[in-house]
């Protein structure tokens, strides 16, 4: 009889340890956290922003390639920094205080 009681207790203990419903809320939390960490939202957003294609130009328009903005930069004869082709038909001068 004593051995039978010990055997039943062992079985019940094993079953409770293996049944997901038996997990306490605190042990269930890491599962949810892991799922959020595996979300690709941030990793997919960054490459999309980097690889945003530029508008397809017409054949007779000089273009500059996509990529970091400073790859498009140069200086005017007065020493100001500019982005884009120096002979672009429209010039936008941005007077801004950086602070």
């Amino acid at each position: 009889m004593y051995k039978y009681i010990i055997w039943v207790c062992c079985c019940l203990g094993f079953l409770s340890a293996c049944t997901p419903a038996a997990q306490s809320p605190s042990t269930a939390l890491p599962t949810a956290t892991t799922q959020r960490e595996a979300s690709p939202v941030i990793q997919t957003t960054t490459p999309i922003a980097t690889l945003t294609p530029s508008r397809v130009p017409s054949d007779d328009t000089a273009t500059v390639p996509s990529g970091p903005v400073d790859a498009l930069a140069s200086q005017t004869t007065e020493g100001y920094y500019q982005i884009g082709n120096a002979d672009a038909p429209i010039t936008m001068t941005d007077y801004s205080d950086f602070f």
Binding site: T52, P57, V64, D70, Y81, T91, T93, D94, F99
Partner: protein, 142 residues
């Protein structure tokens, strides 16, 4: 400008229609000068516009910094830049005279507030939405 500039670049600059010239103002005194100078020093290493964006996006931190030069130097850790050369540039004040002269020219050109945009011959005073700027750009196209 920081909000609308990427769209303008993709739509008009990369297609060869528009160029954007940055003319820094020094209306807020020494801090304006140091921020503009830091951007010019980054420009020496082909990082002018990247540094300008960093300054804009970290303006709150710079405003409360005990030492703005240290804070600006620390910002360059986010760029591919030779920080020692940047610090040397900052301490030498090599761009200071040019920045003062540029600010004087802006005032002579009638710029009294910020931001101001000259789109060909059209002057726009104050911030504008992307849609507003597009309307102006399309209207001045030759």
């Amino acid at each position: 400008m920081l909000e609308v500039e990427p769209q303008l670049i993709d739509t008009y600059v990369r297609t060869g229609t528009l160029r954007i010239i940055s003319r820094p103002l020094l209306q807020s005194g020494p801090s304006s000068l140091r921020a503009a100078h830091a951007t010019a020093c980054a420009g020496d290493q082909q990082q002018y516009f990247a540094m300008r964006s960093l300054v804009y996006t970290n303006i709150g931190m710079l405003y409360t910094a005990d030492d703005i030069d240290v804070a600006l130097s620390e910002l360059t850790s986010q760029l591919s830049i030779d920080r020692a050369a940047f610090d040397t540039c900052m301490s030498s004040n090599k761009h200071e005279q040019q920045l003062y002269e540029g600010f004087a020219r802006a005032k002579n050109d009638g710029v009294q507030s910020r931001p101001v945009f000259d789109i060909n011959e059209t002057r726009v005073i104050g911030g504008r939405s992307y849609a507003d700027l597009v309307t102006i750009i399309e209207s001045v196209q030759p």
